[in-house]
Structures are given as structure tokens and as C-alpha cells.
């Protein structure tokens, strides 16, 4: 049990998927302008990543390894993720239209969110078992959501601040992200 707890703390804080492993930076820059879209994206990622992590691990363990098809991993995984995202999109369009509108272009882009695909690959490359996969996928997604929401809060404040003209836009976002990553380094002693 303590192993899983340690893994969770590590994935959320110490080895944060966004700030320490550099995965999922496009949506990080893209949807962190407003708190509600950031929260929606975070929710979408938690949902999709949990499902994708578990499903890809199952496929890898029972099909690809069994039939010696490991070289097809990349193609199979990305197709599973694409299908899942399509499903989530259809579901949100029907059930939660405001959220669907808010996420706009970035919902289909969850397909090309490196965080999702990256975690699925890490799961199988590190030979995790089923429980480890589940814990790692969920906590990585939470770590991603946490960083995204914090960033959205910072950027909402920054909208009213006076920023030097050449730093406007993505430049200042990246530098802010750098300092956020630095503060997350403070968790290094915990695990």
C-alpha cells in the first residue's frame, strides 16, 4: 500500500508529468488562459488518461506481448486513444454542451496530448502490473490537472499585470512555467 502512496506522491509532485517530464505542454500553453477551460481540460485528461492507461496496458499485456507484436505498440496505442477521445467528445456534446463549447479545438487535441500517449508508453516500458498502471495513470493525470489549474490561476492574474511588450504571449507563459517547475523541485526531498 505504501508503495502505491509513494508512487502517487511521486507522480503528482516530484516527477510531475508536465513540469519535470515535459509531457503535455501544448495544451498547457493552449488552454491555461481561463480557469474554467483549464479545469475542463484537466477533468477531460483525468478521465481519458485513466481509461487509456488501463485499456492500453490490457491490450499490451494480453495481445501484443502474447503474440509477439510489440513493435506495433505505437500504432495500436494511438488508435485506442483516438477512439477513446472520439467517444468522450460525442459524450460531452450530448450531455454537457457548455463544457464541449468551452474546450473547443482542444478536445480533439487530447488525442495528440503527449501526456496521454506518454503515460501509456511509460506504463508498459516500466513493466508495471495492473494496479501500478492504474495508480500511475490516475495520479499522473491529477498532477497534470494540478499544474494546469495553477497555471490558469497565475495567467488570470497576469492578464491584469503590466508585462513588458516583448514578453507578451507564450514567452512569459514559458518563463512562469519555469518558475513553477522550480517550485515543484522543492518536493524532491519527499520521495
Amino acid at each position: 500500500m505504501s508503495d502505491y502512496l509513494l508512487m502517487a506522491v511521486s507522480a503528482i509532485f516530484v516527477n510531475n508529468i508536465l513540469l519535470a517530464q515535459y509531457l503535455g505542454n501544448c495544451p498547457f500553453v493552449g488552454v491555461s488562459k481561463k480557469m474554467d477551460t483549464a479545469a475542463g481540460m484537466a477533468g477531460g485528461v483525468v478521465f481519458v488518461l485513466t481509461l487509456a492507461g488501463v485499456i492500453t496496458w490490457t491490450i499490451d499485456f494480453f495481445l501484443l506481448r502474447h503474440f509477439d507484436l510489440v513493435y506495433l505498440r505505437t500504432i495500436v496505442f494511438i488508435l485506442v486513444i483516438a477512439a477513446l477521445v472520439q467517444f468522450v467528445e460525442t459524450f460531452l456534446k450530448k450531455m454537457v454542451p457548455p463544457l464541449y463549447k468551452g474546450l473547443g479545438i482542444f478536445l480533439p487535441l487530447i488525442t495528440t496530448n503527449c501526456a496521454i500517449f506518454g503515460v501509456c508508453i511509460i506504463n508498459v516500458r516500466k513493466d508495471f502490473n495492473f494496479m501500478e498502471t492504474l495508480v500511475f495513470s490516475v495520479t499522473s493525470a491529477i498532477g497534470f490537472g494540478l499544474a494546469l489549474v495553477i497555471m490558469a490561476g497565475l495567467r488570470e492574474r497576469m492578464a491584469t499585470a503590466r508585462i513588458p511588450k516583448i514578453m507578451e504571449g507564450t514567452a512569459v507563459t514559458m518563463i512562469t512555467a519555469g518558475f513553477m517547475a522550480l517550485s515543484f523541485f522543492g518536493f524532491l526531498g519527499m520521495a
Binding site: 509531457l23 500504432i75 511509460i122 514559458m174 519555469g178 523541485f185
Partner: protein
């Protein structure tokens, strides 16, 4: 004339990821050293050019409603080729790049060019576009990697540049340094006009 324009736009006017802010993950992750930066740039160029060719050839056959899925399958195929070839012939580089080789599949630049360019234009123009964007990306990664490696480790492409009394500025090769360094480069690019916002 327009072919030349399609090629050169990737080198300055829309150079990824400094102007055309996409594909940030590998930009940050593999630029610890010039070697990995160039390696990733070349792999991406290969995937970009060949996926552009194939998608441009198939653009009248692919039904619009499932186009994204089709693009991804095409891209993934070329990524697997790159993955296997690098595993066979450049194993040290393959190990250093780690999960970032399969992650080329989800690099927004490749899908972005497929969607925005190759699915609407002819083969020759698509090759020019892919080649230009790929080379532009390689240049960007090399520049970023050179800065980070020089200050972070005192070397360039593994060769010692700084004198013996140089104290490595390890912040540059860590994750926060990657973000800050990219941010500063984007600032510099802003001096020459506004970047395309995502």
C-alpha cells in the same frame, strides 16, 4: 516560385516551435545536448516529409469525417519505421531519446501540417512544406540545445568548450531551465514581430 516560398516559410516566417508554437514537449525534453536535439530534429523531418507525401497523395481518397484517424495511422507508420531503424543503427541515440521517439506520433507539428497543408495541396508543394518545417524545427532544437548544453555542461556536441575553471550552470539542463530558456528565446523572437498565438 511558390515551391521555394513553401520551403522557406518553415525556416523563418513560421519556424516551429519559435514562431509556430507547437510541438513543445520534445523541444523541452531532448534539448539537454546538441546530439539529441539534432537527432530528434532529423527524425521529425523524416516523418514530416513522408507523411506529407502520403497524405497529399491520398487526400482525394480519405473521407473528411475520419481524416484525423487516417492521418494518425499514416504518421504512426512512419514513426514505427524511424523507431525500428534507429534501434538497429543508432542504438545509443535511441536510448537517449527514450519515449520521445514514439511520441513523435503526437507531435502537433506533424498532424498540424497534415491537416493544414498536405490535405489541401499537391505532392511537390507538400514535400517542400514538410522539408522546410522539418529543417526549421531541427535548427530551432539545435539552437536551444546549444545554449543549454554550453551553459549547463560547458560542452558543445560533447566537446569541451569552457575552460577548466567553468562551473556548470546546471539550472539550464534541468526542467525549469528548459522552460525559462525557451521563454527567453520566444522573447527574442518577439523582437522581430509577434509570434502566432496558439
Amino acid at each position: 516560385m511558390s515551391i521555394v516560398k513553401e520551403f522557406t516559410k518553415g525556416l523563418w516566417a513560421e519556424i516551429p516551435p519559435f514562431r509556430f508554437v507547437l510541438g513543445l514537449c520534445p523541444t523541452l525534453a531532448v534539448t539537454k545536448s546538441v546530439e539529441t536535439g539534432i537527432g530528434m530534429g532529423l527524425m521529425l523531418t523524416f516523418v514530416l516529409v513522408f507523411s506529407n507525401i502520403l497524405i497529399s497523395l491520398l487526400r482525394k481518397i480519405i473521407p473528411p469525417s475520419v481524416r484525423i484517424a487516417c492521418f494518425i495511422v499514416v504518421i504512426a507508420t512512419f514513426v514505427v519505421i524511424v523507431e525500428l531503424v534507429s534501434q538497429a543503427y543508432a542504438y545509443p541515440l535511441y536510448q537517449k531519446l527514450g519515449i520521445f521517439i514514439p511520441l513523435i506520433v503526437v507531435n502537433c507539428i506533424v498532424l498540424g501540417r497534415a491537416e493544414a497543408f498536405a490535405s489541401k495541396n499537391g505532392v511537390v508543394a507538400s514535400i517542400a512544406d514538410g522539408l522546410g518545417m522539418g529543417i526549421g524545427y531541427t535548427i530551432s532544437l539545435t539552437v536551444l540545445a546549444a545554449i543549454r548544453e554550453l551553459f549547463g555542461a560547458g560542452t558543445l556536441y560533447g566537446i569541451k568548450i569552457m575552460g577548466p575553471s567553468f562551473e556548470p550552470f546546471t539550472f539550464m539542463v534541468s526542467a525549469p531551465g528548459a522552460f525559462v530558456c525557451l521563454g527567453l528565446i520566444l522573447c527574442t523572437m518577439n523582437l522581430f514581430g509577434k509570434a502566432k498565438d496558439m
